[in-house]
Symmetry: C2
Subunit: 247 residues, 2 copies
Amino acid sequence: MLVKSQVKYIQSLSQKKLREEEGVFVAEGPKIINELLAASNIDIKQLYATESWIATHRTVSASLDPGIITLVDNKELERISFLTTPNEVLGVFNKPSFTTPIKAKACISILLDTIQDPGNLGTILRCADWFGINQVICSEECADIFSTKVVQSSMGSISRVQVLYTDPDVFLKENGDVLVYAALLDGKNLYDYPKLKEGIIIVGNESKGIRASLIREGIYKITIPRKGQAESLNAAVATGIILSHLT
Amino acid sequence: MLVKSQVKYIQSLSQKKLREEEGVFVAEGPKIINELLAASNIDIKQLYATESWIATHRTVSASLDPGIITLVDNKELERISFLTTPNEVLGVFNKPSFTTPIKAKACISILLDTIQDPGNLGTILRCADWFGINQVICSEECADIFSTKVVQSSMGSISRVQVLYTDPDVFLKENGDVLVYAALLDGKNLYDYPKLKEGIIIVGNESKGIRASLIREGIYKITIPRKGQAESLNAAVATGIILSHLT
């Protein structure tokens, strides 16, 4: 049974400040919960599950400290869920820990400038994960990867993709010896680029694109060839197409 | 100034049934509104604009029948807007008209099986539009393309991409002489396929994929090579990657 303080605590985690103070985030639904429970670098703190979830996840739930699980009915789940359609189980997890520091040498990184839509950000993390890229650098203006919408649309990829929030100008300056590629509308055809072994790929804001200060001399401008009339592509779709070709 | 009946009317358009009875849809924000006003196959019925929008769109607003425009302040716009952050202008448009019927011969079509997330559906339309594909077939279970979320995420592409809601099994049967390609996790590498001139590309539901009845003998199964660990790709991203290679 759910107690009032639990409801209050979970609701408070809609605020970035409180998520940061607690070092936690919320995830929902059997698919993501299973993935996060299986991740070695994320610890579960609290799990709120319906009888139906427990019945189909006996082994998983038996492996958890009983103090962690609270049995809830659908009404109770509705009270704590951030989804329009609550989905059997909600977990509060400690943020993932990564043992290797972010680096730009000898790998591909994605640098996101002001990706503000949480769905786009989560989808980009999932994309990066699919294409084997395990680090994403976000400008401070990007959505918070631990907000519920980002967590849900990343589909568990936050356990594998390490994200660093920093000043993108500083990051590029500190990694001046690594080639930089930028997704733009006036660049060279994506398909004229060879596969990458190392590089920083910049993807810009949904409406304003990439800030001018990042488009320095010597960077490679990438354009996905347009064959129709849409003015632009969605940021996550563009990232997927670029990664699919360059990785 | 906004009158009560107008508020009631616009709010009623959140319901599919009423949008269908009226043959209209709602779009918001300067970018989409400008694109739809410029589209020759879509008529504007009502426009609710703030002074700031009118000031920066004198020519456009002067070209409209004065009876169509209602000047609103930000408070009034908030009352009718479906966005969390209302954006200067809201329009009620008649649904687009297309002169050529949907056909599968001599072109590429996308067939969507139960794409339920409106953001995904809108993004897929925008993608199709970018890659010059102007017809999408939706199973009846797909989200409604005239719902506000689809309209917003399609970014104006609904004026150029014709959508047909029908039974996908019937559509494939009726076009039995056209090659069919299906986005699956166990198919042949996308990059082993040549560019297409004609074909129906099937993309399936966000969690259940493509219904079994559509995976008939003789269809070509396409898989986007995975290099990392994510279980799957977002449906719109997958569509974008496939179209980028096949078109």
